[in-house]
Amino acid sequence: MSSTKYTEYDAYAAEEAAASGEKQGRVFDVGGQDWDQVVSGAEDLGDERLVVNMGPQHPSTHGVLRLVLTLDGETVDDCRVGIGYLHTGIEKNMEYRTWTQGTTFCTRMDYLAPIFNETAYCLGVEKLLDVTDQVPERAQIIRVMMMELNRISSHLVAIATFGLELGATTVMLNGFIEREYTLDLFEEITGLRMNMAYVRPGGVAQDLPSGALSKIRDYLDRMPKRILALRKLLDENPVYLARTRDIAYLDLTGCMSLGITGPMLRATGLPWDLRKSQPYCGYETYDFEVATQDTCDVYGRYLVRMQEMEESLKIVEQCVERLQRVKGPVMIEDKKIGWPAQLAIGADGMGNSPRHIAHIMGTSMEALIHHFKLVTEGFRVPAGQAYSHIESPRGELGAHVVSDGGTRPYRVHFREPSFVNLQATPAMAEGGMVADVIAAVASIDPVMGGVDR
């Protein structure tokens, strides 16, 4: 047996063994599908067109996205999008777990906006249970606050990677460091930086830990200056403007027919934001503006995202103010639905609070039964279907939740805005320069985990 000590580990041993004729695993290459036909078809034409396979592992395609570009010189004649490289069967897996466990799966779809995935799913489950009105107010405020913090962190990544893909590492570093502060808040509140499974059907997993509010207040003091610094770096930057203004044009008609929502739609001048038009989680009671631009280009989408971050900060501020006033439970009172565990963060991470353990093991038989039934079997959801929709950083995130009356989802389908918006790539890229394809894809801000699910 070979040594596992790295100083003795021979990284080339496997290749040498293969070269000497030993059995080797299947070799994977970038061919397959109808790639050969595309290439030979272009050869037959005998002109100067060039078919380029960009991705799926290209650093500027925003994830494992494959673009098949037919180029005439520097101009993109034809663009085809290939997805599916990150398909993990999340929707299928959810059918084999209880309704509560579903949040753990769906949070991993769009990994930059996990709170949104969870909330969309939980709102769907609550709608089916018909308990939307019974979710405690404090839970709704926490949900809104977490979503808005998540919107900021997601937009920061959008702008940071966008800078990186255009070749500006300063933007990337600035964006990611600010995102770190947001993730620190998530870690403080949920115990995890990503994929938190924090929002649960009926409320949220646990209340804010003590001291969280003051950390959020520090964050609120810090962020406006940082967003301003990003704006100073980019808003009037001539290089940035040359790469983004009038690039990847997509107007309202295009957005409507292609089903585009989110910042891309708002950059065409239509103030369509589900938080305002079809409010959920009590968004109608918050004071904020819907960011719009009318340029339909990459620069407009950037400005919309910047303004949305500033508006999100306003909402978080209002949430902090409310959380000081509104006390109470963060999980639905209905003991048949509400997750029984009172989670607490201990020295070894998040777990059941000692008080809850003492309660179920020592004093209440009924609580023990509820705990056992809910944790092993889960609650039942009346048969039917519901469609819940929220405004994620990328647009309308919908969850089509179907139940057959059992303890597990019969079917959950997510209408992922990344998936839908990515369809617009050919419409924005064809006829433009090959360098602008990168700007077009980056302005969509697709997250491949969400696209492929």
Partner: protein, 248 residues
Amino acid sequence: MSSQNPEQRAEQGADQLPAQAEEERREQPVARTGMFGAKTTGDTSGYGRLVVRQSPKVTAPRPYGGPGGAAEPGEFDEIADELERALPDFGDAIERVVVHRGELTFFVRRERLLDVARTMRDEPSLRFELCSGVSGVHYPKDEGAELHSVVHLLSITHNRRVRLEVTCPDADPHVPSLVPVYPTNDWHERETYDFFGIVYDGHPALTRIEMPDDWVGHPQRKDYPLGGIPVEYRGAEIPPPDERRSYV
């Protein structure tokens, strides 16, 4: 009879789930058996012989109401009225109307799906200009309508939503494509074809989108196992999870 104790009240609430007449329920096809769904020896619940039947197919009576409730005529009635006015043979195109949890669903006969969708989009009083995509659902026990294709429409003009549901039998899994009306459905229909095997007639290029092109089967169908596919790794093959060693 309502108790002040929240725990008791919850228990009473659970007993008041939508009631169905016993004989009506008994006519329905079996949706699942057992409690946890374990098919082999895994079920220690003692509920192994439990038979759960599918909910009966209901048709909502007028008034449909709106998202807030069905006590008095609301926006759902307006949508239905307008569609009835714009579509002379409404009764032929729409099999049934369901209002549930503040959502309106039209079950559309598949031959008429394009007509209905076009009317929904073009009629100024309806104007559902945005389609929120397609979702497939597989009901293996729903004989003659095993596969459902569910379309969610959104009207930004009137700020309303509606759901269109089309069914097709497993033996003839064809549904007309909505791409001519809503181009956004291009990828959605490819996805639903990929996962359920519903063939969308008239789609410009109906190919797999998530699974590899040479994949066999449609993974989201209920008869397709979770896992069950051997994994090839560095020349060795790892059996699927359900075929690995067990201590049973």
